[in-house]
Symmetry: none
Subunit: 207 residues, 4 copies
């Protein structure tokens, strides 16, 4: 049933090859580091020939950028769906923090990829000024913060500043955790940090 349409079959095959390459990028970069990952590595990991990569991406750069973007977008979407059930914005904000860390924890190679490797190329920022991988994440965080403020759950803080604190902290501990090969218990650390941050946002006299 699934394959009785040739057009579909072809499309799927093509899609799966592109996806295989995308996955190969993430896995390989996570393992070998951004700058030691070459086209041959990726091609081998994706089970395709070197040249095949260039059927799907114009250049190595473009391939990496696409991999970053698609991974970030996908993860953000997952998180959004997960926290969509929460009633208050504060809960959503707190859950955002939790889920982000949880997702990364379950796929440590993503931590390595996003948290450690993604910063590696100021080149990208020059060559592709529009390349702002965290932008969506940060915007969404700020939106949650504004909502929480509007709902009266947190005090009147600058949303941008708070978003940087939350994201910077998450980014840093995940990078450290990934770099140190997951030696320290992330769950514990996450809770401690979550407490402190929430405490800093709470209105006086509450709780």
């Amino acid at each position: 049933m699934a394959y009785n349409n040739d057009s579909d079959k072809v499309k799927e095959k093509k899609k799966s090859k592109r996806e295989a390459i995308m996955n190969a990028v993430i896995m390989t970069v996570a393992q070998k580091g951004f700058h030691k990952t070459n086209i041959s590595d990726i091609a081998r990991a994706a089970n395709v020939a070197d040249g095949t990569v260039y059927l799907y991406f114009k250049s190595k750069d473009e391939m990496f950028i696409k991999a970053f973007e698609e991974l970030a977008t996908k993860k953000l979407k997952t998180i959004k769906q997960l926290i969509d059930t929460k009633q208050s914005a504060l809960e959503r904000l707190s859950s955002f923090f939790d889920y982000h860390i949880e997702i990364i924890t379950e796929n440590p190679y993503i931590a390595r990829f996003i948290g450690v490797e993604i910063r590696q190329s100021p080149d990208f920022y020059e060559k592709y000024p529009s390349y702002q991988p965290f932008k969506e994440y940060i915007s969404y965080l700020q939106q949650l913060i504004e909502e929480a403020k509007a709902e009266g759950d947190i005090r009147d803080v600058d949303a941008e500043a708070v978003s940087y604190i939350i994201f910077g902290t998450m980014d840093f501990i995940l990078a450290e955790w990934a770099m140190k090969n997951q030696e320290f218990p992330l769950e514990d650390m996450k809770n401690k940090i979550s407490d402190i941050l929430q405490f800093g946002l709470m209105k006086r006299g509450e709780k």
Copy 2:
């Protein structure tokens, strides 16, 4: 008189040449980015021959690591001296934050170097497991936090967690700031963040 001691002259020359190379590393990396900086660039900037670099460092890697370490150590020492006059640990903690940002602001190339480029090579962490550029910074931060707790100025929080929040936040905004070519006003952002963080550490009912 000046030239009657060859040994001294040589030693001094050597020292100054090594230093010239270290400075050249930082300046060049800051300008061209980590991965576009090659030995020839550095040698030219340091006014030495390519081969000379290898008289002072075993490899390019080692040279970069040493440059990172020495810069971090030097800056930490400067900060320590600056905040040594402060009476309370809380003040020192707050000043640490301020000075760190101030120093970086005045030397944006360091921001680029430390904040953006330093994370670039997970290789380093494998090849040179002892390479933990932030370690000293983080330890010192934790020490300040413990002192502030002991002095009763801040509530009983986990020092490690707090150090990660502070450092992660600083690291992130400086990287963003550097990456976006110093477009947004760092001073403003710093104050907002500082306020929020302090608020989160304060004891209830205080201030």
Copy 3:
């Protein structure tokens, strides 16, 4: 009726496709130059798939050789027909020169193709020793010269030598003209050269 003979249809299609490829070769090479022209370019210009090219030619080399040969043969045939009306061999010889240049002038891409690009591959001469694109041209020229001699219109010169002078000169000025993007007036130059050459072939005291 139209479609009841599959064999014919197929043969015609095949023929027209082959011709489309041949034309595409000449046009594309004329535009992009020999070595920048690849199979994909040609296939696109001929409106066929890359693989289709290999149904009509064993290799890229063979395809180019066939294109050269067929173009040269076709043009020579055209010239022969045009000068067939002329009475004397000398007139035919002179007209040959004129028509050759005229044809090329009207299709500058051929000049580029024949005059500039055709010489590009000594490989061809090794791989395909029978590849002598000018041979037919030269032979025909020599034949005309012999006839003119027999008719007593020109003095007793070595036909081979004269054929080389005529062809070499034509070849060179057309190549220069094509390479310099048709900047200088070819008509003028042609007449001057034609005069000089005729003068050199004339019998003393004549005209």
Copy 4:
């Protein structure tokens, strides 16, 4: 004596390496053809490492252009010196023709290089519009023709047209001769052509 100056020694070594590469270019291109010659071939022929080529030339293109130019200039200079002793311009013109062919005959690989391969890259004419390898040759020929006219040795012909006839003819027969692996007797052909051309330039009633 020759090597008692270090600076000289170094300069000579460097010069000899550059020259080795230049010679390797010409020899290798003559043997393998322009487009089948790669950097590795040249480096091997010059007894240097691939990378060494790039110490002397910015790119493969530049290397080829320099090789063309220097070879043409050198040969023209040699010819000029040889014909400088001749009294009349007509003799110089005739000798030019003779010597050009003689030089090429003695170094058939040059014929292949100049005559056959040099035309291979319309790219060059686009990328480097100033690249006109024959220009000097042609100009010098025209100068000789004008002088011969002024001296009354040849009739009043268009110097440009004549230069194209002479150069085109030489170019063509040398290319044919080189391409056919020196099968036919060049000396004979040269004399026949020389006669015809001189005849075409002579004044009526003369000789």
